[in-house]
């Protein structure tokens, strides 16, 4: 062990028997020692001049200037001395960790450990698993050929990181993968990883700046010492050597700072490029979605109108069929009466059957045609409504994706809602009804219902949104009914809301239903 003495109370012990220091460390330690030496000299010289002053001896101008400088820089000199001592201890401690080193060497030298490590890397299952992971990433995440090549060129340890990053994406359905990728790109974790490295580089620059400041002060002190020594005719060679070493150290620090600054700038530029490119991709995607979603919504609105028209037409046809069935029923009743009369006239059953055959066939065919068409309309309506639901789902899916892109870009948290886009297409229940052929139900010409309804709308208690009289001509064109077409109240109750919806007259269901019931009540009372 070699002991260095810096003044009475400044002892620094340097462990020389540890590992061999690098040339850089030797250079650094040398520079620190020089600086410590200069602080020691400054302190010693200050003490000497102070003693001279206390003995009332005359001070030379240089001694006076030195004293002024030493008093002014007293704190800086003390700090420099402390940091350099600490630095020297640090260098020697770093290089003097024989146990750790030995342990590490022992570990790596352990034959079992080595074998185990080799076995691990050589395990065929492990290799297969890694290959499978790689294939999974390429296929399931959907890397294109260019990116596959980029992934394959990535070192194995980085591939592991990529697999972890993309892990959550394996479970995501195809349509939502883009949201997942955008989320990964906007992931704070990645940015933080870089930020911490930037912070370390910035800390290093700050440390170098402080050291440089101290070195400058040290140089300044040395210059005073040289001037003082020159005045006294003392040798200055060693002092000049010290000052040149300190100056060299300052240059080294400046160079080191410049290198680190370059690295930092490069990293900041890389980060900025990444952030800009990421924003460009997101903006382009959102812009494209905005551009395309508008016409999609317009098409969907026209589909909603078609849906209303389909619903209205189906109901109008259903009411027409109902009326035709009632007509057939009426004919059948009269036919039965004729049949009984034939029997009363003593006509044989075979003759009656033959006579009525054609008429019965007409009735059966009419009913069969109605039933066939009714079923066809129901099937078609279901099919068309499924198509409209599919269109609604597609538009909703893209709107939701656009919103997700915006949310991700703005760094907002994901809403905890059910994933609409993966919902199955809703099956819209098809309205079915029992056809009433009762003859005691009041039937009125449709014109009569419309004029009474329009009259009813003049009532002051009617909701404003409903106060739009029905154009009977348009109503008849839309339904395909003639002026004298007769309907009952249930028919009117069914067709009116659909007609209003088709014509864009929006009334709350509850209000409309209550008004229709109220209308029926008034109609009945006025008819009494």
């Amino acid at each position: 062990m070699k002991e260095h003495m810096f003044g009475d109370n400044n002892k620094i012990f340097i462990v020389e028997n540890s590992r061999k220091k690098t040339p850089e460390e030797i250079e650094e330690a040398k520079s620190y020692r020089q600086e410590l030496e200069s602080t020691r000299l400054v302190i010693a010289e200050t003490d000497r001049i102070n003693k001279k002053q206390e003995a009332k001896e005359l001070l030379t101008p240089t001694e006076k200037a030195f004293l002024v400088m030493a008093t002014r820089e007293q704190e800086a000199v003390r700090k420099l001395k402390e940091t350099r001592e600490a630095k020297l201890v640090e260098i020697n401690q770093d290089s003097a960790k024989p146990e750790a080193k030995v342990e590490a060497n022992q570990d790596s030298a352990k034959p079992e450990a080595k074998v185990e490590a080799n076995q691990d890397s050589a395990k065929p299952e492990a290799k297969v698993e890694a290959n499978q992971d790689s294939a999974k990433l390429e296929v399931e995440v959907g890397l294109n050929n260019e990116n596959k090549a980029l992934f394959n060129a990535t070192p194995e340890e980085k591939k592991g990181l990529l697999r972890r990053i993309y892990e959550g994406l394996y479970k995501v359905s195809g349509v939502n993968k883009i949201i997942g990728k955008l989320e990964i790109a906007y992931s704070d974790l990645r940015i933080n990883g870089l930020t911490s490295k930037e912070e370390k580089l910035q800390e290093e620059i700050n440390r170098i700046d402080k050291e440089t400041q101290l070195s400058k002060k040290s140089q300044s002190s040395m210059q005073f010492l040289i001037a003082d020594a020159k005045e006294k005719g003392a040798p200055i060679a060693s002092l000049e050597q010290n000052i040149s070493l300190i100056a060299k150290r300052a240059e080294d620090l400046s160079r080191k700072k410049s290198d680190i600054q370059e690295k930092l700038t490069e990293r900041q530029e890389q980060r900025d490029v990444y952030i800009n490119k990421r924003r460009e991709v997101a903006d382009k995607l959102i812009g494209y979605y905005d551009e395309k979603i508008k016409p999609m919504e317009e098409t969907l609105a026209s589909l909603q109108t078609l849906k209303s028209r389909l619903d209205f037409k189906s109901s109008a046809i259903e009411i027409t069929h109902k009326k035709q069935e009632a007509d057939l029923h009426s004919i059948e009743e009269r036919l039965n009466s004729v049949k009984e009369s034939y029997r009363a006239e003593g006509r044989p059953e075979s003759e009656i059957k033959k006579t009525l055959k054609d008429l019965e066939a007409y009735l059966d065919t009419g009913r069969a045609n109605i039933q066939k068409k009714r079923e066809k309309i129901l099937d078609d309506k279901e099919e068309q409504e499924k198509k409209i639901a599919e269109a609604e789902r597609l538009v909703a899916l893209h709107k939701e994706k656009r919103d997700e892109f915006m949310r991700t870009k703005e760094g907002k948290p994901r809403e905890n809602k059910k994933d609409k886009v993966t919902q199955d297409i809703k099956t819209i229940p098809i309205e079915t009804e029992t056809i009433s052929t009762e003859q005691n139900i009041e039937r009125l010409p449709v014109q009569s219902y419309i004029s009474r309804w329009n009259e009813y709308l003049k009532n002051e208690n009617i909701a404003e949104s409903l106060k739009k009289p029905i154009d009977s001509k348009d109503f008849l064109i839309e339904t395909g009914w003639s002026d004298d077409f007769v309907i009952d109240f249930e028919d009117f109750k069914k067709i009116l809301p659909r007609y209003l919806k088709l014509k864009g007259i929006v009334v709350e269901d509850g209000i409309l239903n209550a008004s229709i019931e109220d209308f029926n009540k008034n109609k009945a009372e006025s008819g009494k």
């Binding site: 980029l150 990883g193 999609m296 098409t299 004729v338």
Partner: protein, 89 residues
């Protein structure tokens, strides 16, 4: 007897006339049903055709967006892969 037969024939004739009227009425209703069904087919087919067109239009736009998704996804993959390499340097 002859009078009875005449009455009977007259009644049968009335019944035949009633039956013919009913037959005519049934023909008319049958024709109405055919017309209603024919018109319904035309009107509903026209609506179906428009629905199919609109759905096709939405699907086409959707596939354009899916293509944009793919392009953006590739660009993001490329960025992520490069970024990981930069981060670990």
């Amino acid at each position: 007897m002859t009078q009875n037969n005449d009455t009977n024939n007259q009644n049968i004739q009335i019944l035949h006339t009633q039956l013919n009227d009913l037959l005519e009425e049934a023909r008319k209703v049958g024709k109405e049903i055919d017309e209603t069904n024919q018109k319904a087919r035309e009107e509903i087919d026209a609506i179906h055709s428009k629905i199919n067109d609109s759905l096709a239009q939405i699907k086409q736009t959707g596939s354009g967006l899916d293509k944009a998704d793919k392009e953006a996804g590739d660009a993001l993959d490329s960025l992520i892969l490069q970024r990981v390499n930069e981060l670990e340097e």
